[in-house]
Amino acid sequence: MATSPSAAATARGIVKIPRVLVVDAVVPLNTNQFPSVLTIPQDADFEWWFLAAFRTDSRMKVLITESATQRQMVYSGSQQSSSTVFNGVFIDNLAGLVASNGAFPIAVPYVMPATRAYQHAFTDSSGAQNTVQLVYHGFALLQVSQ
């Protein structure tokens, strides 16, 4: 069944275009909070539906922060000692590998505003260089003239 034009354009003047945003990083061994930035393209807001990951070793933690709001998407609930730095969630708990089992559904889609930057910090504890890719699947909410 093809999606009807009315279904594709769920709001007046908005067309949803499938879009994939990618965060790539080659994290040196045993590096703490290696930075990488995802910037939403400026032509449209992005509606986030899936998160998928690739990594060469699972012993890697991730932190995600929305720059403009300083919103922490990974929230530390553990009572760490003062000498322990919170480095985020293990990547295999955050997202799935599409090649094996599928991506993680965001469940309630999140709209990321155009041009906004999302800071990623990767922490490796594998003892070897870790190549990682986080992939945001969703839709560009493209404004069209009537």
Partner: protein, 190 residues
Amino acid sequence: MDSDRRDFLAWLGIGAGAAALRPLTLPRLVNTLINPFARTGSPSNNQKDQYLLGDGTIIPMAGGSPVWVYCEFNTLGSLKTGRVRIPMPESFRLLTYFGSASVNAKGGFRVNVYDVDRRQRLTDRPVNMQTLSGNGSSPLFQGATIGSRQAAPYAFKETNAKVLITVVNLEPNPNQIQFGMYGIQGGRGI
């Protein structure tokens, strides 16, 4: 019989207008990436029962941002218990638990989740990690989230909510245990 009840019975495969098979019983023809929370087309017609990704979610919520609340325990010895009281982010609604353990030969760990503010046990008794929590590859969402299209995800107290997490290492070896909750912060019911 009113039309809503008739439609519901048809959806269950009972009575006139019932579909022969529900799509969930059909084999997947391709390895399609399926978001189980996307709305579906028609509840009674397989040909139309294609989910409409991007057209909304079955969870009666809109807005808010995804949040992973995470706790990690210092390495626990054999059969030892770890306990932590988590301060929750404001306006958090629970969708799923996730967890992992460095050693997972005899079940990894058991966990108990307790809403301190409401004095509610969210698990009746300590539950093995595999039967409560998934992970990023195999998320196990709360039954209330996907079992009913009417039920809203569990909302903790709006501000300063606290959750008590208790884990027990089931392994005969030291174990590094992670446990967390995925949910939505903020948002509104629809």
